[in-house]
Amino acid sequence: MKALDASDLETWLAQSIPAQIWLAKELEIDTGGVETLDSFWDRRSGASSPRLTPEVFRPSLVAYRKKGSSLPGADLGGLHADSNGDCLAYGEVKTSSVAEYPPGVMYGCMGLQRQLEDIRDNDSTWDGLFRYLGHRALGSAWSERFRRATKRYLIDDFDVHLFGFRVRDIPPHEDDRRARVYLLGRGCPDQMKIELYALNLPANRIKGLGEAVLAARKGDRP
């Protein structure tokens, strides 16, 4: 768990991939084309590479995926730098404004934990994302990083990083800590790292945050 105060929030948003994913949804960005999105995220995600790709919008497309979209099975696919260098990273994001502890978005068939378990245990998901990144890495600025991550993955396909990200705008509660995330660790292979983030915003700040951020960027501070 990571706790951030309001002053650190902006920095954190600029650096955290999961945070960006969530923000993308909230901003309800109008995509005239992928390029616009890419350029947006180019600005916003300096610490992450590859740049956020269209599937980062999957939180907004969950319903569609349920109908059987051909997305490769995770909200996020990218690279992550750890102490051993670059590795592949996959992630899931959930948001909730409902005051229940632990939150519903954590459990159930579409819950964060279940989805992280799916990613953790499903090598076809890893491979699907890996292939996709393989296509996208060609000619990109992060192709060398992808290469390094690939080598680790091909030697040991458990050598990947999983992110889980849960955003709430209700006061923190100790039951959140009771979330049985340890179950994820129980079935986790040695080489695989799972990192979970919980972001608690001030009450009722999720809704409309996107507009607020966009407005702030334009200089129309409320």
């Binding site: 790709t53 319903a63 997305l71 890996f130 060609l138 690939t150 030697i155």
Partner: protein
Amino acid sequence: MNLSTKGLDLLESHWALDAIGQADLERVKTLVRERLAYRAVGGQISFSFSWSKGDDSLLRRVALAFELAAIEGLEELSRSSGKNIELREQAVAASYRVFEIRQLMPVPVKTLDRLFFVLHLSAVAYCGDRWSDLRRWYKDNQEVLEPPSVAGIEWDRRLLYRLFDCWIRLFRKRGWDDLDRIREIIAGLREDQSRFEQGCLQNDSPEQNRATALRLVALYHWAKATEIVANYILEGRPPSPLSSLDKHFDGAIKAAMASGDAQHEVILRWMHSAAWMVVTNSLWWATRAVNSRTSDFVRSLTRREHRAMFELLPPQRAALMEQGLLDQAKTAIVIDLPTSDGKTLLAQFRILQALNQFDAERGWVAYVAPTRTLCAQLTRRLRTDFEPIGVGVEQLTAAIEVDTFEEELLAGDHQSFHVLVATPEKLSLVIRNRKVEKRPLALVVMDEAHNIETEGRGLRIEMLLATIRMDCPLANFLLLMPYVEGGESVAQWLAQDVSAGQAISLGTIPWKPNERIIGLYGAMPDERERAGWHLRFKTLTTTPKAMALSGTHRVGGVRPINVPKSQVIAHGKQKGLGIQTAAMASVMSARGTSIAIANNIRTVWKMATKAAQCLPNLEPVPSQIQLVQNFLRTEVGPDFQLVENLEKGVGVHHAGLSDDARALMEWLAETGSLKVLCATTTIAQGINFPVSSVFMQSHKYPYGKEMLPREFWNLAGRAGRIGQDSVGVIGLAKGSDPGSVTEFVSRSTGALVSRLVSQLNELAAQGQLANLSDVLWKDQWEDFRCYIAHLWAEKKNLEVVLADTEELLRQTYGYITLRNDPSQQQKADALLDATRAYARKLAKMPSGVAELADSTGFSPEGVSIAMSRLGTLKTKLKPSDWTPESLFGESGRIADLFGVMLKVPQLRRQLEDVRSNGSGQVQISDMTRDWVNGKTIDFLAQEYFTDTSTKDQTLAITNACRAVYRTISYSCTWGIAVLSRVSGVDFDSLSVDERRRINALPAMIYHGVRTEDAVLMRMNYAPRSVAVSLGELYREETGAADGRYSVVSARGFLKSLSDSDWHSVRPEGSALTGNGYKRLWEVLSGGVTA
């Protein structure tokens, strides 16, 4: 873009593969081989492989590594060549490897996962040059190809399912109708769009609508690209579809990216490259710059109902598009390609090009094949393919004489034939006697041309090619042969110009029609049953031509053939190798037709009987087999053993069967109706159809002579059917000396060596080179003597011949080879001296001998003997003796003629061979008379070959067949034809009709019928049992019409017959119905191929 060795080498050092590590990569290679073998033959062979838990993950990761290498070059595959060739080669090679592994992986069960898996695998297969393997995978995995139902399905999903259906059709190319359905499906989608699209965009959120809209855009682009590919494959239109394809796939990929649909985007990238490969692999693409005749041919290939063709195999594409097969500047091309089917198509393209090139001059093409069964098979194939485009194909009989009907055919106008199929001996007669006048020989296609190095006919073939070079200066050459290294020297010899000779070596390209397992088998005691035994198969790793699999594995169960152990092992030693071979073939027949080969006919029958005893009855017996059984009952005899064997799906193929029967055995094998085909080693010369497995009791011919490695691999290479078997299995009985068998398999095939050179080398080794003139009379030099006689007959002047000898010899491959090698000058000089000496000898022979030798194919010595012996007959032969009634009547002179023939060296050996089975010369002549007069094989067997002590009817029939189909139809036909020429009868004083009747006599012997009309029917493959009655019907219909004695007219007549016509001519008691006869005729004449 073809799979290349360079591309595969490049992969070895790819960074992604480096990450895996050498040891793991080696492990994967082994795993792939083992799993492929297990999948293909695991039901029959209990492999002793050891697999561990982490193997699946390793395979998956290595497949990903290869895929990454493929992805790096994927875009290059959808661009015109000339860009980054290395990346293209890497992409093809990597895709090849990806398919190798992923084909072994289980197909996901969930619908979408399944669809994407299949599409991805298919695209990978096309990008990796493995469409034939993909087709086999489709065959084995039919259930996963089913498109899901679209009932009640949302519009975007409906589109995807329909597109899946279309691409399965595009990839499998089952036939015109199957592909044409794609156009209907796409048209249907256009109609559906107005009904379903709007509903698909009525989602709650704008993001979802936007994503859906983009997804639909991607799918629409994909659908349009699909339609473009389908139109091109079907019609060859538009001529340049690639830029349109790019436009639509680029649009589709961009839309998929925008919709955030990663999986869709990935599959579209693969489909884009695969679409390029589908187009550039197609027949239309390969022949787009060629003449209209070729376009017509391609159109007819795509539209035919049976085995429609749409695309080329990688070696065919390489030959056509990269190695100059259709380059008119190349006058001699040698193709080294193991698969026979692939070669024939290449030959067809070259034939059409040659006919086009020589259209104004009315050029013709000679297609030469070593055996008459192969000639018949080729004729059927060429006729089926060429008839629809107006290219006439005719076959000359294998008889070494040009009969009266053939004379007429050859002398006819250019419409009578464009392509002539013949044996080397027959073509030699046609060329030397200039039977085709005023029409240039445009091209000679020589199938199985590696026979140029064989002991029996090598010299004859080389001399034929030399004669063509000399007498037909415009002729181009196309030599087809398997496993020949360094074909350039042969091509340059024939081209007479270094730059005009082209060797297309496709035997060494990494692409393979399928994998092969080769090993030695033997029997092992098995204590689980009393006197029990089982088969063990030791896979060999000593040849690069087969998969490197280690271990010794059990095959089948205890006593796979129900004989006691003592019949296969005695005192620890292997025995009963025929039984072991039959057992292997029977066990392995569960996965497709197996061939069991022995080196003698007796063992072949034994193998067939044993195999039939252990196999279950066919339930029901396929109609094809029933047809052949009825044919055998009628033409051979109702109790013929083969009829019973066929009940179990066991056939035989050897010289003790008629041509028709052998052709029907091949047809049954080709159609998959046979489980086991037992054959002699001679099938190596004739087999032109693939099977699932090949097992050999011995790699030696009768009398212990080893097969040449090239001959062995030509035979072994038939194991594994393109598009059907992932693995072909080849086994040899280990016998008592497994080491020597292993060493034999390991031998390389090497370069082609002229038989002329081999014979000189043998002489030199014996220190006899200086005495060449003294040994030139021996049998092995007979063809060389005939060659000199031809020169003599042409020049008729000793001084001129002596002056031209060097030039004459320079036409031969052997002499050129020797002259080009400074260390071989002595041999070349010896040959030159001996040739001149023989020319002087010819000059001293009686007038006309050399000319008669040249026109008949007899050696000058043979002609001299025949003339002298005829002169000693007590009663001179008169014209009236040369009529069918007289010659084949009770008091005819045929016995006298056989007396003469037995003195001629070229005929004596075979005639005496028959005599050793019968009892004296009178019986050969009687038998010939009976044969011409319509007696059945059954009758001849009982009359002349039944051993009263054993009463072995099968052996008697075999001997009768050998006597008829080898000796009578070969030696007797030739002998009678020559004797009629040298008999002293003044043919010029006879009427045209009388001359024609005499000229038809040898053909009557050859075909076993007594009338000219029946000969015409037999020449067109009518079964012998109805040939005479059909001939009568033909005579009734045609009366005295002009052109009645035409092979082509007779074929037209046969084509027009209805079931009831056939019924009206069938002999009483025949097992065949009218419809059966008609169908049989269609099969034998090429009207039906499966």
